[in-house]
Amino acid sequence: MAVGQESKECPLVSHGSLLLKVELRSNPETLCIVRNALGQLAQTLGFSETECRSVVLAVDEALTNIIRHAYQGKPEQPIELCCSRIQAARDGVLKPALEIVLEDRGAAVDAKKLCGRALDDVRSGGLGLHFMRESMDAVEFRRRWHRNQLRMVKLMHGAEPPEGS
């Protein structure tokens, strides 16, 4: 059952091909390693420099939320990250896209907290979800089999991977 969903019409239409699968632990020190790997992956797929930064930011914010909220700062808890190349529909047209799925076994996501926050007040906190939604074309949360699953999709806007990649 989906507990929260924010999508700009980007349903999964194929299982796609797996590009990267990583099992992580909920340690903040691992974030920089994931950022480097995701940046390289996005660049290899042909995303622009700005799009690469968006993908990296979204994944970093998602992992930060898992560490802080799902696991409440407890280290050494499992997180699974899968990246696949898929075909996703946008305006009725199939487009190649990068799909990123994160799974954790932490506390269930509170659907009431998935609305983000208004940005018109100056305060710290609550920005992570806003960054994820602004950076990606689709962001969906599900709770399945005692796991939180976050799926994010970034469409590839006609860019081709560099030669030799």
């Binding site: 903040p28 020190e29 974030l31 920089c32 950022r35 700005t50 930064r53 990296v56 930011l57 970093d60 914010e61 930060t64 560490i67 802080r68 940005l119 018109d120 100056v122 305060r123 710290s124 906190g125 920005l127 992570g128 806003h130 960054f131 602004e134 950076s135």
Partner: protein, 111 residues
């Protein structure tokens, strides 16, 4: 990995920050900012972000805390050396306009 070093001028502290500001490192930035503003009561704190390659929402939260402390104490927090990555994140948070931003260190420390 992030590093912070402080340079003390007349009534101004410049904090040179390098590396990534994320969940792991932002508490250190927050601590450094609040030490200069609240404990040392420095009237002007300048944050040199030239060597910062990445900032996330927890980093933005630390900057906002520093800004609030400076406003409460009647002091100034000035940022300079923002690269594209840092500027994009501040723009995304809609908080870019609330910070005092200088283009160069000379501008930031000018009387």
């Amino acid at each position: 990995m992030m590093q912070i070093s402080a340079r003390h001028l007349d009534r101004t502290t410049i904090l040179d920050v390098s590396g990534d500001i994320d969940l792991a490192t932002s508490p250190e930035l927050r601590k450094a900012l609040l030490r200069e503003l609240r404990e040392m009561r420095i009237p002007r704190v300048v944050l040199n972000l030239k060597a910062v390659k990445y900032v996330d929402s927890s980093g933005v939260a630390s900057l906002v805390e520093g800004l609030k402390a400076s406003r409460d104490l009647g002091s100034r927090l000035i940022l300079f050396g923002l690269n594209s990555a840092v500027r994009e994140v501040l723009q995304l948070s809609k908080l870019l306009r609330i910070f005092e931003i200088a283009e160069t260190e000379e501008q930031a420390v000018a009387p």
